[in-house]
């Protein structure tokens, strides 16, 4: 097996990013769309941490900021989801086609 | 939750069922009949919003044995043991009520000595019933230990019962016209010893619970019922007294020879679970007071009045009620002049008190339902009969 270089980590991050993108673009269930966004954020995190291996700790600090954002996003996204579900009795993202109801 | 059960429920409006429980969507939970905290086989259908109770519906009858119907096919004497099986934790009180009702019908007076023995045993039974209530109620709220303490002390009462009549639970201690058995040697000593033994034990229960923060938080303000509602629903016993109504049949319409004793009727003000707890504890102490007075003054004399071998009361009807540990226990007996009653109707306190459940738990949490079922002190044998 070849030694593990940062490129390996970057390829893994790219693959996770692609998976996340597929999830966001194709799934109808809002919850799964939100989770795909988490996948994308994690891919970014992996990139940051992998680069911090090369250029110092700033990458890790940014990864922590990204995690903070993910927490905020999850709380807010799920709040919207609950409000939406209460009004429309559905969790499908392509049924969110009105700005106001 | 099966569909057929929901079909007949009127006031819960269970027709529409949602599969989630957000917002307007309710969760329907079936508490019992196989549930550890329903004191037997009570089934309560709860309509919940999250943990908040929107309404309840009691489904009873799982322990129905048709006691009232059986009475119509037994002679008055033969029916006597059946009443013990209604409120099986206070069998002596049930027997007393029935015997006195038939005596009233026959126009017979139990001799004074019999009355004293009756009062002692009944009050002992009241303590036993309250101890059982305290133990199980505390267990429902999560305190395990009081259960074992109360059962340890209740055991002493049951020992006295066993020595007196041979049975511990369904005693069949009294007969129409008095008591069948003379007291055994050392009965008075045993009772006095018991009074001395249990007085500090009641303080022990109080030590564990009365000032316990969690206990107070769990019971204060929980299951409130006003005096007006109590009277409207016919609720009696400690539940009524905890709401501030000073109504105890032992004082209001004295039976046996309760008028000869000096005791007080404890009342509460708030009508919540905590007050009911305090009222019952004071009642235990008052019972001890009655017992120690009775055992001091117990007269000599016959234990049984003159009662014909075949009991044939004159045609007529009678309603006689006593203060059972749980509330007013009434017997309505219609006699057609034969050896068997034409109809016996029992007014069981548990059954009537259970009606208040819905009123008391609306808007409370699931955990409060448990506390309220516990504080109502129901016995399903009596509810279902």
């Amino acid at each position: 097996m070849p030694a593990i270089t940062p490129i390996h980590y970057l390829i893994l991050a790219a693959a996770l990013f692609a998976l996340g993108t597929i999830g966001v673009l194709t799934r109808r269930n809002v919850v799964i769309v939100l989770m795909s966004i988490e996948l994308i954020l994690n891919a970014v995190n992996l990139n940051l941490v992998a680069f911090s291996r090369l250029w110092g700790l700033q990458g890790q600090v940014f990864a922590i900021f990204v995690i903070t954002d993910a927490a905020a996003e999850a709380a807010w996204g799920l709040g919207i989801l609950i409000a939406f579900f209460r009004n429309r009795e559905t969790v499908n993202v392509d049924e969110v086609d009105l700005l106001k109801w | 939750m099966t569909a057929d059960a929901t079909k007949y429920l009127s006031h819960l409006e269970l027709g529409e069922r949602d599969e989630t429980f957000l917002d307007s969507n309710e969760l329907i939970i079936n508490m019992g009949p196989q549930h550890p905290a329903t004191h037997g086989v009570l089934r309560v259908i709860l309509k919940l919003d999250g943990e908040k109770v929107l309404g309840t519906e009691c489904v009873i009858g799982y322990l129905h044995r048709g006691v009232e119907k059986i009475a119509e096919h037994r002679t008055y004497t033969m029916f006597n043991p059946y009443v013990d099986r209604m409120d099986y934790v206070a069998a002596v009180s049930n027997g007393l009520g029935y015997c006195e009702a038939v005596e009233k019908l026959l126009n017979v007076q139990a001799p004074p000595r019999a009355n004293y023995v009756r009062v002692i045993l009944t009050e002992l039974n009241r303590i036993a019933s309250h101890q059982l209530w305290l133990g199980t109620h505390a267990l429902d709220i999560g305190a395990m230990t009081p259960l074992f303490y109360t059962f340890r002390d209740r055991e002493e009462i049951l020992k006295i019962f066993e020595k007196y009549c041979g049975a511990r639970l369904t005693t069949h201690a009294f007969r129409i016209g008095g008591c069948l058995y003379e007291t055994y040697d050392g009965f008075e000593r045993d009772v006095k010893k018991f009074v001395d033994f249990v007085t500090p034990k009641i303080d022990e229960y109080e030590e564990l619970l009365t000032t316990n923060r969690i206990w107070v938080e769990r019971t204060k303000g929980v299951g409130y019922i006003s005096a007006k509602d109590c009277i409207a629903l016919g609720v009696t016993g400690p539940v009524l007294r905890a709401s501030g109504v000073k109504w105890d049949i032992r004082k209001a319409q004295p039976y046996a020879n309760y008028s000869e004793f000096d005791f007080e009727i404890p009342t509460g003000q708030n009508g919540d679970t905590y007050d009911r707890y305090l009222v019952r504890l004071v009642e235990m102490r008052q019972s001890l007071r009655i017992i120690s007075q009775a055992v001091e003054r117990i007269p000599e004399g016959p234990i049984m009045a003159k009662v014909p071998k075949v009991i044939k009361p004159p045609v007529g009807e009678i309603y006689h009620s006593i203060e059972a540990p749980k509330g007013e226990l009434g017997y309505f007996i219609v006699s057609d002049g034969s050896t068997q009653p034409y109809r016996i109707r029992v007014r069981p306190p548990s059954f009537v008190n259970l009606q208040a459940l819905d009123l008391m738990v609306r808007g409370a949490l699931v955990a409060d339902v448990i506390a309220v079922i516990g504080t109502l002190d129901i016995v399903l044998g009596e509810v279902d009969r």
């Binding site: 390829i11 692609a18 109808r28 291996r53 700790l57 890790q60 709380a75 807010w76 409000a83 | -």
Partner: protein, 172 residues
């Protein structure tokens, strides 16, 4: 704490991460998706440990797997309707989306393997990151150089909390 058997653990963990990722976007039942996502997150935490970033790994486990995902599961249980599982899982434009996303991913991989800049990266010697004082160093950066960003992040969280409460509450 020096990582041992690096390549083995890298392939194991990245395999788990990718497996989790694939499961997230293919499962019908959102609870299964969430559990798969937890698998991915834990695998990534392991990879962070291998990259000399223990603090990020700890935060990943504590916040992501223990906090955010429990929130997800909580909400899924609240809005879980059997109906959703029987419906169509993918939207109308899924072919286009899939192709676009897959092309993006392949583009990344192509760039990563072909780009001369990244070839430099591959040859750059990794920095010596003192693992034993990782937390202290990250803390120094967070409360020193990135103080303002840190405070803004806390403000963001506050806004998110208030927003979530406003959104999710039945009656305010």
């Amino acid at each position: 704490m020096t990582p041992v058997a690096t390549s083995f653990f890298f392939y194991l963990l990245s395999g788990l991460a990718l497996l989790g990722g694939v499961l997230v976007i293919t499962r019908r039942n959102p609870v299964h998706s969430a559990l798969a996502l937890i698998l991915t997150l834990l695998a990534l935490a392991g990879i962070y440990l291998m990259l000399y970033a223990p603090f990020v790994a700890g935060v990943q486990i504590l916040l992501y797997a223990g906090g955010i995902m429990v929130l997800f599961l909580f909400v899924i249980m609240l809005v879980n309707i059997g109906r959703a599982e029987k419906e169509k899982q993918f939207n109308k434009q899924w072919i286009v989306s899939f192709v676009a996303a897959a092309v993006t991913g392949l583009l990344f991989v192509w760039i990563l393997t072909k780009s001369p800049l990244l070839r430099q990266i591959a040859q750059k010697a990794p920095m010596q990151l003192p693992e034993a004082s990782n937390t202290q160093d990250v803390g120094n950066l967070l409360y020193g150089q990135y103080m303002l960003s840190f405070e803004i992040a806390s403000l963001l969280l506050l806004v998110a909390i208030v927003g979530a409460v406003v959104m999710a509450k039945k009656r305010i």
